[in-house]
């Protein structure tokens, strides 16, 4: 029998500590929508998405009510569009993005991911078309998210794609200049991208996935922060145990919600992504957890070690709570979406170089970072290359989601609104990486790729 304390603890986590299910994301295979006629292809895409996901939002809302736990986002991910649109006789895939946008609106989801290409070893004609369509697609749509995988531990880093992505990010910022380059918040450049990630902007439905699947992303930085407040000054063994116990509870909730949603929607349950995903709300910050471990401001010396412990303990606690764990699973460190990170970046303690070091031990990478509008495409490409190299060598997912906000300089703030938050513009190194990026070609896969 449940006791009062258990019940009150759960309610307290939901009411005061921002405990929530961050997203239930339905992955939909679109490979059967291929058609030489682009219009026909778009029709098939729209029909398939709206058919598969017609009840997603309704079921999400019902479960929210019945369990009394907020499910913040209901989302859709689809097969990388470069694979779906490859057969179409057309040079631009902007229409496919518009179709995805329209389908997302019909289904009532706030984001749809999968305007994507996987080019870690080389790009097909279709991949290039998709990559070059990204800026216009991001400007012409509201809810579509794009991602490009430019490197992997097995394949190395496709530096031609890295160079192009620098230009794509710049162009996307220019085309969405009215909104401070908001389009870039929907573009992720990955290394070692995962096929079952429920979180945006990097979600897509991988080719190894079933026809339709439901993945769940949990959250709860506020709960972990609160739990750590009760073990002030105690050794790290205790800190790790406390994080593990909390992560276990959070994940169990994700597991039960995911199982229920998949049952009602009649689609298989994929994975729970055990992530600590912050929001700009006070008390829902990953940065504050690190500070609670004893750092005056996140970004100071010790931050990487603190994050490494957190990231690992979250996984260890969560893994027993779910029968299938996947996605990115760990602690996210998006700057604009985390109240503590924003404060640390504004005070100048948290700088890009430190964030890069932190990405060696966090679950993803350089996320939601605003840089000056005059940052060159080559510099952005070089940042992407650094990040991809970290992912490649450490066999982990890394990503870059960077916003060169047009007309903004260091000290300004970029307002993105909602869960995307606001980002202080951070300085980049002024020295050029032009000649480095211009080389092109492929950085060979590291020795650790030869594991057979």
């Amino acid at each position: 029998m449940l006791n009062q304390h258990d019940i009150l603890q759960t309610l307290d986590m939901i009411d005061k500590r921002h405990l929530d299910i961050r997203t239930i994301t339905m992955g939909i295979n679109l490979l059967d929508c291929c058609d030489p006629d682009p219009e026909r292809c778009c029709e098939k895409i729209y029909e398939k998405i709206t058919r598969c996901a017609k009840d997603l939002v309704k079921v999400g809302e019902d479960i929210e009510k019945e369990f009394g736990i907020p499910i913040v986002n209901k989302r859709i991910s689809v097969t990388p569009m470069a694979l779906v649109a490859g057969a179409c006789r057309t040079d631009s895939y902007v229409e496919m993005a518009k179709t995805m946008d329209r389908a997302a609106k019909t289904c009532g989801v706030n984001f749809i991911g999968g305007f994507s290409a996987l080019v870690q070893k080389g790009a097909t004609e279709a991949d290039w078309k998709l990559i070059r369509s990204i800026p216009e697609a991001m400007a012409a749509t509201e809810r579509v998210c794009a991602s490009v995988n430019v490197g992997s531990t097995r394949a190395g880093i496709n530096m031609d794609a890295v160079a192009e992505m620098g230009r794509v990010v710049k162009r996307t910022a220019e085309l969405t200049a009215d909104n401070d380059g908001l389009g870039c918040a929907k573009v992720v450049v990955f290394a070692n991208a995962v096929e079952d990630n429920p979180f945006m902007a990097g979600a897509f439905h991988g080719v190894g996935e079933p026809e339709c699947v439901l993945n769940v992303g949990v959250s709860g930085p506020g709960v972990v922060y609160h739990a750590l407040q009760s073990v002030k000054g105690q050794p790290f063994d205790v800190v790790a145990e406390t994080v593990k116990k909390t992560a276990f509870q959070i994940t169990r909730m994700g597991q039960i919600v995911g199982r229920e949603a998949s049952k009602r929607l009649g689609v298989p349950f994929g994975i729970v992504d055990l992530s600590l995903a912050p929001t700009p709300a006070v008390g829902d910050s990953v940065a504050r957890i690190l500070e609670e471990m004893g750092l005056e401001v996140v970004g100071t010396h010790g931050t990487t070690a603190a994050l490494a412990l957190l990231n690992d303990a979250v996984k260890k606690g969560g893994v027993m709570a779910s029968n299938h764990v996947g996605g990115l699973s760990g602690a996210f460190i998006p700057v604009s979406e985390d109240e503590g990170m924003i404060a640390a970046a504004e005070s100048g303690t948290l700088v890009l170089d430190k964030l890069e070091a932190m990405t060696c031990v966090c679950s993803v990478g350089l996320d939601m970072i605003a840089v000056p509008g005059d940052t060159s495409a080559a510099t952005i490409s070089a940042i992407i290359a650094d990040e991809a190299a970290i992912g490649m060598v450490n066999s982990k997912t890394t990503a870059v989601r960077i916003i060169p906000a047009p007309g903004k300089v260091v000290g300004d703030r970029v307002e993105m609104g909602g869960l995307l938050g606001s980002a202080p513009v951070m300085p980049v190194h002024p020295e050029s990486a032009e000649a480095f990026v211009a080389r092109g070609g492929r950085i060979p896969a590291p020795l650790q790729s030869l594991r057979n």
């Binding site: 029998m1 449940l2 009062q4 258990d6 019940i7 759960t10 809302e61 019945e66 009394g68 509870q249």
Partner: protein
Amino acid sequence: MKAIVTVVGQDRVGIIAGVCTALAEFHVNVLDISQTVMQGYFTMMMATEVSECNVPLAELATRMEAIGKDMGLSIRVQREDIFQAMHRI
């Protein structure tokens, strides 16, 4: 199916009667009640059986929340599974 009903608010006469009457109208059977007054706040937890409930659970939660609002209370109805999942292995 079981649901946990939690009621929190300023203590006064007739809270239990009011909540139980409302639940009875929805054909919800109360299995167990525990209550306490914490920092001046009345806090009650009820384990209930909702299999015979005459409205869907999501609607029950919404309606009870509204009834609570009229009484100046916070009333929540949640499936028991969520608490079991979080606190029992």
